[in-house]
Amino acid sequence: MNLNLIKKSLSNPLALIGFLIILFIFFVAIFAPLLSTYDPDAIDVKAILLPPSFEHLMGTDGLGRDVFSRMLYGARISLLVGFVAVGISTFIGILLGAISGFYRGWIDIVIMRMVDVMLSIPTFFLILAVIAFLSPSILNIMIVIGLTSWMGVTRLVRAEFLSLRDREFVLGAQTLGANDLRLIFIHLLPNSLTPIIVSSVLGVASAVLVESGLSFLGLGVQPPQASWGNILTDGKEYIQFAWWLSFFPGLAILITVLGYNLFGEGLRDALDPRKAK
């Protein structure tokens, strides 16, 4: 992955839009304290369920809290969960996939069966059960999402390693005395980075969706801490009187996920030699 590739992928207009969206969400999350117009947790009983106005850009919720400020802080949760969860799953995926593809044999069979088992358990059920037992906290959510989404990366890395393992440059390095670790991390991994990066970017999108789904069910980030998912859950209760409570958080999730999907797909197209012009 060098600068040239980044430049090439950003020349794809869709990838560029996606990238800008991601930058924007980062900006919002980092500067949430400066941008917010109210304290996100401040309850104001005189301002319950106010529609959007210049004072409250996205209205107020059932406790009179300013939705716009809560949305800004919610961006932090969704970024944090997305990146940490994908970090964990990518780490596990690279580790297992590398072992599997490099050593082959029985260990490859064992790891691939593990992948098959994890792929046939309805993951969302698994996440729900684990979260309910371990109590829902952001840390647990990130870990559990990470631990249940490494299968794709594992298969990807394994496939890359299998196809690269017998190439001349690897055999050459081996002949020159490179040990296994060096072969894996210096020679094989850098050559399989492209698909890993694409799948990580798309993975963030799905982690954000899973987190919002968990929060929507009340098993995600716990109130009073704001997350887009739990603002939406409140919105469900008030949907007849306060559309803004369910509309804005959903829209924010959509835009974020769209950003990662556009960037990921754009990256794939730009880096795919078959599709390159």
Binding site: R113, M114, D116, V117, M118, L119, S120, I121, P122, T123, F124, F125, L126, L128, A129, V130, A132, F133, L134, A205, L209, S212, G213, F216, L217, L219, L232, G235, K236, I239, Q240, W243, S246, F247, P249, G250, I253, L254, V257, L258, N261, L262
Partner: protein, 328 residues
């Protein structure tokens, strides 16, 4: 498949041991009538006094006879299938009642998704890079990124509350028992309309993008040019010759999407208050009702395996090359 089942059972078993304390304390905490005696009985039933490995073995043995135990809740219903007591009264199993509901909604929804998504995918592929394709594909891509439960919530509100066209929750109206048979049918239909239609609208995005990509791979191959050169109509070329090949990978995709559908039923069923597997699981999780949780995890995974098997068979049936063993 057998090693897979063992792996799955191991994971569902280990989850039970994640929770702090032993499971009898959990039961006692939400069923105050539990006596020390019944807790002792429960310990015996789950063999909690034996080493973990032995516990697992015994659990596996019970599982192989499809004995998932009874619910921790006060009614003590069997988790999986109906049982007869000494007086001959039949108590229906929880999964037995919930599974058909979820299966029906998901299968009907999947059919609808395919009916809508395949023509959209084909259309966008035939108009590739023209404005029609750009417009439709952009819309589909936005839909693809939207959280399904959000779209469901908004559509449910709009169609069910604002327009008041359909009931928004449950499977029956309150006066269901008083209705004539015909009214019962229409009542059921009305209640099932939103839970089936809305998820299939959100689900069609992924499928139609997949069909489009599949069609694009196929449409520029030589045999399509041959078909055109023979003078076949464009409709026959696209729908007879190209689509058949483009749909093959879709079979695998559908097989792989089963765990997602089952898992997604938690959110869908909680929005529409449908008494299916997802609702059952969600309630069980909130109450830490271990036998139900483990039962549903195992049954859900077994369903996935079954779905994958069906997908493999369907693939062989649809693709003569696989059937005759030309490609592996």
């Amino acid at each position: 498949m057998i090693p897979l089942l063992i792996g799955i059972s191991l994971i569902s078993f280990l989850i039970m041991h994640l929770a702090p304390g032993d499971i009898t304390t959990t039961e006692a905490s939400f069923n105050p009538k539990t006596s020390e005696e019944s807790r002792q009985k429960l310990r015996q039933m789950y063999n909690l006094d034996k080493p973990v490995i032995v516990q697992y073995g015994l659990w596996l043995k019970r599982m192989s006879t499809l004995d998932f135990g009874t619910s921790f809740a006060a009614d003590q219903r069997p988790v999986f299938w109906e049982t007869k007591d000494k007086k001959g009264n039949i108590t229906k199993g929880m999964i037995q009642e919930a599974l058909p509901v979820t299966l029906f909604i998901n299968i009907a929804g999947l059919m609808l998704t395919l009916i809508l998504a395949i023509p959209i995918g084909v259309y966008t592929a035939t108009k590739h890079n023209q404005w029609q394709d750009r417009l439709v594909t952009s819309a589909i891509f936005i839909l693809y990124s939207a959280p399904g439960f959000w779209i469901s919530l908004l559509l449910m509100y709009w169609l069910g509350v604002v327009c008041n066209l359909f009931p928004i929750s449950g499977l029956h109206s309150l006066n269901y028992d008083l209705m004539s048979p015909w009214e019962k049918v229409t009542d059921n239909f009305k209640h099932l309309f939103l839970p089936i239609v809305i998820p299939s609208i959100t689900g069609l995005a992924g499928v139609s993008l997949f069909v489009k990509n599949g069609m694009l791979d196929v449409l520029y191959q030589d045999y399509i040019t041959t078909a055109r050169a023979k003078g076949l109509s464009e409709f026959i070329v696209v729908y007879r010759h190209a689509l058949r090949n483009a749909l093959l990978p879709l079979i695998t995709l559908l097989g792989l999407s089963i765990p997602g559908l089952i898992g997604g039923s938690v959110i869908a069923e909680s929005i529409f208050a449908i008494p299916g597997m997802g609702k059952l699981f969600y309630d069980a999780v909130l109450m830490r009702n271990f036998p139900v949780i483990m039962g549903i995890l195992t049954v859900g995974s077994a369903l996935t395996l079954l779905g994958n098997l069906i997908a493999d068979i369907a693939y062989a049936w649809a693709d003569p090359r696989v059937r005759r063993g030309v490609v592996k």
